[in-house]
Symmetry: C2
Subunit: 174 residues, 2 copies
Amino acid sequence: MLFPFSLRIFRSLSAAVVVLAGGSAALIFAAGGDESSQAQIAYPAGYRQWVHVKSGIIGSEFPMEPERGIHHVYANQTALTGFESGTFEDGSVLVYDLVSLSEKGGISTEGARRRIDVMVKDSKLYADNGGWRFGRFMADDHEHNIMTPDLHQVCFQCHEKQKAHGFVFSEFRK
Amino acid sequence: MLFPFSLRIFRSLSAAVVVLAGGSAALIFAAGGDESSQAQIAYPAGYRQWVHVKSGIIGSEFPMEPERGIHHVYANQTALTGFESGTFEDGSVLVYDLVSLSEKGGISTEGARRRIDVMVKDSKLYADNGGWRFGRFMADDHEHNIMTPDLHQVCFQCHEKQKAHGFVFSEFRK
């Protein structure tokens, strides 16, 4: 969940493929340049109507300011089945939605979106990363996946600790 | 959102009616005794897979301890349409899910459920309350709606301030 200090917009998009994942469509771009070896994922349209997995708060005591706020995790139907079965099938998509908070009189309310992080499962396309590919979109920008190879490595190295749980940290809060 | 200081379990349930509300079923009981004039609502089964409307946090500075925690609002499909159209049709169900929080190192995580509050819209059955009926289920108890006439009055008197917004406080966070 580290913040990217250099924002890079992927160009040279060479192809777009729509993957139907349990009724939800995840648009995947095959990127050119340094990222040509792996497809870049596009904005997960409609995720706010997916199932809400859990939430958490990163407060003012946490040293990294860009991580602060309230976050919600959403799952498409394929990923939701993964929480139940323990296996995330191809087509699983998870979204980490980070929203700013403002406090008054002990009550904190949601404000603007800070960013979303996305995880898409394709065991063949992303075989080198446990079958997952990560993406990041700042604020309400739906167009520019700012994931870089370095940041992707940081994401994966942390999620790799959760290999026994399909590389996923969250558990579904019943 | 006031806490009921006397917990009363409704008995003498005389009838149960299943209302199909936009694909989601809200079970309604016609209660006997003092509450015989209005049907009591039952636990909104499956609401955790409904759409997540918004969240908020009531922290340690807030004077009423039973209200503290993180809360999430969920809407069934009929209520979701209401957020878009501005009119909550009969069959709309909203759930206020209050969950305890524990903090460590600036990171707050969700714990046990404290209670859920439920709003069900039926403009004929609940005509005296703007078409809404409120219910409350403590912790993970799915069986006992502990709403009392006094608490219901408190709920409605507050929600009445939102008459211009269909008696609903929440707005859908996009």
